[in-house]
């Protein structure tokens, strides 16, 4: 594991342990300036859906930031205003629906089925869910271990061989 990632994760773990007894209901306090209505609880919901779409695996594929943090950062920073609006509108629709069906009580298979069905809808919730999938994929596929172990990425190859047996 990358040394920097390891230190960060140890920090997060120990920090969490220290805080836990006193702050069981603590929510992430990151403010995304283009997503003012998406606060701690909403961010957590988004993180949860991302994790259902593509499970986060911090042991085998550690990253510098959590999935939730990465996805929201990308939407906040890289989406133009019109896309941000569509994303928020989609989230509002999803929020109502998951409350109605008590999403958190469903099995993982049922949650996936809901996400799949809603991704095929014609409203903004489809855009919202596709965004979560797009950036969840990017987060996973750009993780160090995936790039190195599965895409054969080398930062300093020092060579180019043109005809290698596959």
């Amino acid at each position: 594991m990358n040394r920097r990632i390891a230190i960060k994760q140890i920090g997060l773990l120990t920090g969490g342990l220290v805080i836990l007894p006193y702050a069981c209901n603590v929510e992430p306090n990151i403010i995304y300036y283009n997503l003012p209505t998406i606060k701690g609880a909403q961010q957590k919901t988004i993180g949860h859906i991302c994790n259902i779409i593509l499970p986060e695996d911090i042991i085998n594929f550690p990253t510098l930031e959590s999935r939730q943090e990465f996805v929201l950062t990308m939407v906040n920073d890289c989406y133009a205003e019109s896309k941000v609006e569509k994303f928020i509108k989609g989230f509002d629709i999803i929020s109502i629906l998951i409350n109605e069906i008590k999403f958190e009580n469903l099995s993982i298979e049922e949650q996936i089925s809901f996400i799949d069905k809603q991704t095929k809808s014609n409203d903004s919730s489809s855009f919202f869910l596709k965004t979560l999938k797009k950036y969840s994929l990017l987060h996973f596929e750009s993780s160090e271990n995936y790039m190195v172990d599965y895409l054969n990425f080398e930062f300093v190859p020092g060579r180019y061989l043109g005809s290698v047996s596959a």
Binding site: L54, P55, C78, I115, E144, P157, L161
Partner: protein, 563 residues
């Protein structure tokens, strides 16, 4: 020596100015090198050079703010999260566009040499003879023989990898060993030889160190480690840029005074002496004005800024700009047409792949109208050629199934292949830059208005590229062939040239065969502005050779007290 007086002033610390500085300083000439942007010191000022892909907050992507604030710069392929700090932001230096033109700028010591594509091909005699033979622009006052030795001189210093191919259309240079070819590139090269008598697929010639030599060790540069993220600046000095090579070299002589943050307003002219006497500089931070003086002035501020400075250098003798008696300054600007690309697939080598990365692709030299006019358009195009194994990653579904699919990513045995056109455009009187009569920039210098566009010749050439490459690809057995006109604006190629062209006749050109202004012979222009025509090759090597040649001529003339 008076602190404002030098032997030579060079305007612009990019590739051309860097070469001039090296030559002057090495030969004992006290040199002032002015750069409008900040200093970028090799190693010290490459903030992203050692960042892994997963360390970038946006994984290399631009933010919406980047795109909204920089619609022009963000269209450049290298303006990404890892290197955007080396590009001039749109609001920083505005210009007028009579027609859409992407002026991509790099204001810093080293200029665009930090982010350049590093492809370096010599011109041939057919390129220099083009305008005279085909009756456009004006005749070049120099030919390949005038530059041959200077090309070698530059290549040996910067380090160029390539293969000696023995082609008269693209002369060989003093090369380091080439990067390895891959099996599909080799196959396509053989296919071209089989089907055409005058079309070649050769190793790309690029400014990367593939061999160690004493000169490179002396420069403090190491071998290219094939990271292919050169636009960030290279900690090994594996590719040539001004910062790793020319500036430290010139600095060591003790003859260089480098002044960053110095925006040149104009060249000063003394009517009694009939010479340029110096330059007026605006400090980019304090906006204060200061004059510097020298016997010789090299204007190498990059093509369009060189035009701007000369147009703004007005005097009683030269009311339309320095040296502009014939009114041609700022006219006949041309560029390279990079609009056409073609892609396909090849299934002939399913059991082969590649390892590592190479910082270049293969190259197809111009084959149209080389020896005689044979098409309904003038001149021709070169092209790149690259092949890489196609990787398949299935991203359907959700949850653990999706993750399992990602973990089953694999190479398919199919190869993706592709080419892009590098077309010569014809310098035309109607392709011009002028000074805005009212608008000024933040330094009080008139804004440049750019009026440059494609023409019918470019459209015909584009169609020919699609037809010919579709045929070449089909003959090679490539499938799924797709052509694309990416409609990019002129300027997006970052190869704008001309406006202060060289020529034999002062009535039809601005510069003589030594790059001196015909009417003010101690002022030299050796960057892209001096180009009479553009040919198809990436131009930087020619700019460097011309700069080295002109600087050495100026040194000889200084010694004879002729300047």
């Amino acid at each position: 020596m008076d602190k404002n007086k030098y032997d030579v002033i060079i305007v612009g610390a990019g590739m051309s100015g860097g070469w001039a500085a090296k030559e002057f300083c090495e030969q004992g000439v006290k040199t002032l090198l002015l750069e409008r942007g900040p200093n970028v010191e090799h190693l010290k000022d490459y903030p992203t050079t050692n960042m892994q892909p997963w360390e970038f907050k946006h994984r290399g992507r631009l933010t919406s703010k980047d795109v909204e604030e920089n619609p022009i710069a963000s269209r450049c392929y290298a303006f990404r999260e890892d290197a955007k700090h080396f590009f001039v932001k749109d609001k920083h230096h505005k210009y007028g566009q009579v027609k859409p033109f992407d002026w991509i700028k790099g204001y810093q010591v080293g200029g665009k040499s930090i982010m350049w594509a590093r492809q370096v091909q010599r011109w041939s005699k057919y390129d220099f003879e083009g305008p005279a033979r085909d009756g456009y622009a004006v005749e070049w006052p120099i030919n390949y023989n005038d530059l041959h030795n200077w090309y070698s001189y530059v290549e040996k210093f910067v380090g160029v990898s390539g293969n000696k191919d023995g082609l008269d259309v693209l002369p060989d240079g003093d090369f380091l060993k080439p990067w390895e070819t891959n099996i599909v590139e080799e196959y396509f090269s053989k296919s071209m030889k089989k089907h055409y008598k005058d079309r070649y697929v050769i190793y790309g010639r690029c400014a990367h160190l593939t061999e160690s030599k004493p000169i490179f060790l002396k420069q403090g540069r190491g071998l290219c480690m094939s990271r292919n993220i050169c636009q960030r600046g290279c900690p090994y000095g594996g590719y040539f840029n001004v910062n790793s090579t020319l500036i430290p070299w010139a600095m060591k002589t003790g003859n260089l005074d480098l002044k960053p943050n110095s925006v040149v307003h104009s060249v000063l002219y003394d009517e009694s002496k009939q010479k340029g006497t110096g330059v007026r500089v605006i400090d980019s931070k304090t906006k204060e004005s200061k004059d510097y003086f020298a016997k010789v002035i090299f204007v190498t501020a990059s093509t369009l800024n060189t035009n701007l400075i000369l147009l703004n250098s007005k005097s009683k003798r030269f009311p339309k700009g320095l040296g502009n008696d014939n009114g041609l300054l700022g006219k006949y600007i041309a560029f390279h047409n990079y609009r056409a690309t073609i892609s396909a697939q090849y299934e002939g080598f399913p059991n082969f792949t590649t390892e590592g990365i190479k910082p270049t692709s293969h190259y197809i030299p111009r084959f149209r109208n080389v020896y005689k006019q044979e098409t309904d358009f003038l001149r021709g195009y070169a092209a790149g050629f690259g092949a890489r194994p196609l990787r398949e990653t299935i991203r359907s579904g959700y949850g653990q199934d999706l993750k399992n699919q990602l973990l089953n990513t694999r190479e398919t045995g199919v190869w993706n292949v592709g080419s892009h056109m590098m077309g010569e455009t014809i310098p035309k009187r109607s392709n011009v830059v002028t000074l805005d009569p009212e608008k000024v920039d933040q330094w009080g210098i008139p804004q440049l208005n750019i009026d440059i566009d494609y023409d019918e010749n470019d459209e015909k050439m584009l169609k020919d590229f699609f037809d010919e490459f579709t045929e070449m690809y089909s003959k090679a057995g490539f499938t799924n062939i797709k052509t694309l006109d990416n409609k990019r604006n002129p300027g997006n190629d970052i190869h704008e040239m001309g406006g202060v062209r060289m020529g034999k006749d002062p009535k039809t050109s601005l510069l003589n065969r030594w790059n001196q202004l015909h009417n003010c012979n101690n002022v030299f222009v050796t960057d892209g502005a001096c180009m009479t025509s553009t040919s198809t090759q990436n131009p930087s090597l020619t700019f460097m050779a011309i700069s080295a040649r002109a600087a050495n001529y100026a040194i000889q003339e200084l010694k004879k007290s002729n300047l």
